[in-house]
């Protein structure tokens, strides 16, 4: 591959300012140096290196504080205008390791509900930033509404069952919920962000410190991909939290979905770009039909074209969504029905596209693609895992319904 990635996967460069570009460049260097150039070693010592590389990204480069306001020691990327920059960072991380990307995406998603203008909550930031964005690496976990269980009648968030509840008690709240499935890191999270229903069945979010004795974690799940993220089901048994740890402003849950779709989209685009690099190398060195370079075979070239096409359009979609979020005056806040819906449409499209790119590319790699030694199979598993989580319920049923509701004013679905 003799062309730079950014020359191939073009994106509206003006969306990212010079200062952001410098940070993005730093993250690309981190990705190349610490992971991409030593994939074999990274795979063989994954658990250890996953933590070390996360540390160097979050603490040495300082990305743990990316979306904190400057007055809280952050980079000050806490304005919707930073959405393209944050998405770019996630792309760079995803190019190296989707699991590190997911951890970062979830953290920024949760922080967006706290720090992002115009909803910056100073008191909450004062309370959380020193503990969860300080000198130690901290992991956040997100629990969204989703499927219910037969025989349970639950409050709903746009069709999805809310399985956790908050109830006011003296000067705080009590959180309850059984066997909840987070998006990530349930087994190790330092802070949970849980979508709950209040007494009136209205959705809100609660922030629950992981060290509370009444937080009970199930066994670490074995999953298709993203295993380093150490997910587990979690139960909250009368967990008391301060009053300020519950955010119940209108649209806050929608905000979470909007940011999550953008940021996981960023991760998957990055992973797709790295897959593109790998399959590109393969197609230049592998010969078929008794000696022809694979990429010069028209059929293989058409498969390669599909790979490029899916990743290329995904990146454009990603920046389109980032731009939509970055301009609340044009399109509404991230919790508005429009932006929330667009985020889901684009978020799901990106996951599908990248999944298709990898599935197609694997066709050309034969057994090598299936073997751990070639590293591409990890991307395949990781992206499928992200996609399944984002689907939420019944292969994106709620996303389809949200979309139809927005575009066709459906009332009863």
């Amino acid at each position: 591959m003799n062309k730079a990635l950014d020359e191939l996967f073009v994106y509206p460069k003006e969306l990212v300012d010079e200062e952001s570009k410098r940070v993005i460049h730093l993250v690309r260097q981190w990705a190349d140096k610490e992971i991409i150039s030593k994939r074999q070693e990274y795979r063989e010592n994954y658990e250890k290196l996953f933590i070390e590389t996360r540390k160097s990204l979050n603490l040495t480069i300082g990305l743990q504080r990316l979306t904190l306001p400057e007055e809280h020691g952050g980079f000050g990327w806490n304005n919707p205008a930073n959405a393209p920059g944050i998405a770019s960072i996630l792309t760079e991380i995803g190019r190296a390791d989707a699991a590190i990307g997911v951890a970062a995406a979830v953290k920024y998603t949760i922080l967006a509900a706290i720090t992002m203008a115009p909803n910056f909550d100073k008191a909450l930031c004062d309370a959380l930033a020193p503990v969860y964005c300080g000198e130690e690496l901290k992991t956040f976990s997100l629990i969204l509404p989703g499927m219910g269980n037969i025989g349970q009648d639950t409050p709903l968030f746009l069709g999805r069952s809310i399985l956790a509840s908050v109830e006011a008690e003296s000067d705080g709240y009590v959180v309850n919920g059984k066997d909840l499935r987070p998006i990530n890191s349930g087994a190790i999270a330092d802070l949970f962000c849980v979508v709950c229903a209040d007494k009136a069945d209205k959705p809100c979010i609660a922030l629950v410190p992981g060290d509370n004795a009444n937080v009970v974690r199930g066994k670490t799940l074995l999953e298709t991909g993203l295993n380093a993220s150490s997910n587990a089901d979690v139960s909250f048994n009368n967990v008391k939290i301060p009053k300020s740890y519950v955010i119940s402003r209108q649209g806050v849950v929608e905000e979470l979905y909007t940011w999550l779709n953008l940021l996981l989209g960023g991760v998957s685009v990055g992973t797709g770009m790295n897959f593109f690099e790998m399959v590109g190398d393969w197609s230049e060195t592998r010969t078929i039909k008794g000696g022809y370079m694979m990429k010069e075979n028209p059929l293989c070239a058409s498969v390669l074209a599909d790979v490029a096409d899916e990743v290329f359009t995904s990146r454009l979609f990603l920046y389109d969504l980032a731009q939509t979020i970055s301009k609340p005056n044009d399109w509404g806040q991230s919790g508005s029905q429009r932006v929330y819906t667009i985020a889901q449409v684009i978020g799901s499209k990106i996951q599908q596209n990248v999944m298709r790119a990898i599935n197609r590319g694997l066709e050309l790699m034969g057994s090598a693609g299936y073997s751990k030694e070639w590293h591409v199979e990890k991307h395949w598993r990781d992206i499928k895992t992200i996609q399944s989580y984002l689907c939420g319920v019944g292969a994106e049923a709620p996303v389809k319904m949200d979309t139809a509701r927005f575009f066709f004013d459906c009332k009863d679905i």
Binding site: M147, G148, L156, T224, T287, S367, A397
Partner: protein
């Protein structure tokens, strides 16, 4: 629908042994595999948990399936001589594949090289007698392997029509009454120290496109000069071990060649439909299991406080999944029957273009549907889709390679084009 057995299969195609074989294997699968299969991924290297289940399936201490192809007079069950050999294989592939497609592969690939010497009309009695004790008298599982793929590529070797074997670098030289084999193979199912017997597709004249120079030679694994590497770590298919195999001045008797010049190339073309039909069976088995799991899931999890399956939109997705399973199963049995018609006046020989190309086409179609519906099913499960506890993700990882092996998807597409459009240069 009562249960997954109700998925369509053309009943008039089904062998009289079908019911019996299925019930025996299902018993084995439910008892020996289903409860443990989630641990198989961690057992990929050692097969501590996997091996005893194989023994109970294949060895005489269990069902004894490894001898099934051999003629009764050599201690086998005579399936190689049966008119329903393909259809029975499809049922076997399905039942074992329902539990674990990698086990199904490892077990059925044991038949694969043996089909060249045990299936009518090409029974090679001398070789059959030679190898019968290895498989028919063993208490434990004994495996065989078909070592086609080489480092420079597997697709070209399977594409004999185009390459005529000129890309094959594993060379057999006749010295007196012995073949001396040198070469390097990759990936055969049951390598990595598992197989006791290999069949080695090779050339007697490097670079030749004359199919007379193509040879299939049997090589017992313990022969001097055979070295197998350690198993590769893969995305799935943990119960199947794959590795490098090196042949360095390996000497075997000259009569270990399957049938001789020209006939070996024909036989090689004949084993391809076996692999394709079995591949379809593996995927159908996995899909039947998907249906079982999905049925429970969509009946007990809710959306809008109703079971998932009672939501019109979700119902359309799971309806399509089940519909596809039904269609794939019909197609797989049609493919198997195509194989079983080989000796009938209205059938085609299995080395013919008709069978090879149509089967590649069917396998390609079923693979694509399988890859698609497993992906969709994981999405239906949402946050549980990637969770090993639900087993669907395991099948999703396992079956992807079925789409890619045996020369890959693109080779299937080219063979279909060649046959249906009489292409001359592909």
């Amino acid at each position: 629908m009562k249960n997954f057995d109700e998925f369509s299969k053309p009943e008039e195609y089904i062998s009289p042994m079908d019911k019996h074989i299925r019930s025996v294997i299902r018993n084995w699968a439910d008892k020996e595999v289903m409860p443990y299969r989630r641990k198989y991924d961690e057992d990929w290297k050692d097969h501590h948990i996997i091996e005893p289940a194989f023994d109970k399936l294949m060895g005489n201490s269990g069902i004894g399936l490894q001898k099934a192809l051999f003629p009764p007079e050599l201690g086998g069950w005579g399936i190689g001589q049966s008119d329903s050999a393909f259809t029975i294989s499809c049922a076997l592939a399905e039942e074992v594949g329902r539990a674990d497609t990698a086990m199904a592969v490892a077990f059925m690939v044991t038949y694969w090289p043996l089909t060249t010497i045990l299936v009518e009309p090409h029974v090679n009695w001398r070789l059959a007698k030679e190898f019968a004790p290895m498989f028919c008298n063993a208490e434990k599982a004994v495996f065989a392997a078909n070592a086609m793929t080489e480092p420079q590529g597997g697709a070209d070797i399977e594409n004999l029509e185009l390459t005529g074997g000129k890309t094959i670098r594993t060379v057999a030289r006749l010295e007196g009454d012995e073949w001396v084999i040198n070469g390097h193979k990759l990936w055969p199912t049951n390598s990595g120290g598992v197989a006791k017997l290999f069949v080695v597709p090779c050339t007697t004249k490097p670079g030749s496109t004359d199919l007379k120079d193509f040879a299939m030679i049997f090589v017992p694994a313990e022969t001097k000069g055979v070295t197998q590497g350690g198993p590769y770590e893969k995305a799935g298919m943990a119960a199947d071990k794959n590795s490098d195999i090196w042949f360095e001045d390996v000497r075997v008797p000259s009569w270990y060649r399957a049938h001789g010049p020209s006939m070996d190339a024909q036989i090689f073309r004949e084993i391809i439909p076996w692999g394709l039909a079995a591949s379809m069976g593996f995927m159908c088995g996995a899909m039947l299991n998907l249906y079982e799991i999905l049925y429970d899931f969509v009946s007990t999890k809710t959306y809008k406080n109703k079971p998932l399956k009672e939501d019109d939109h979700i119902a359309s997705i799971i309806g399509r999944i089940a519909g596809d399973i039904d269609i794939c199963r019909i197609l797989s049995y049609e493919a198997a029957k195509m194989g079983d018609r080989r000796n009938k006046p209205y059938g085609y020989p299995i080395y013919s273009d008709e069978v090879a190309c149509k089967m590649r086409n069917l396998k390609d179609f079923v693979s694509d549907r399988a890859v698609d519906i497993f992906g969709k099913a994981m999405d239906v499960l949402g946050p549980y889709g990637a969770d090993r506890e639900y087993d669907i993700e395991k099948h999703w990882r396992d079956i992807k390679i079925i789409q890619l092996w045996m020369g890959g998807k693109q080779l299937c597409q080219m063979e279909a084009a060649r046959y249906f459009f009489n292409c001359k240069t592909l």
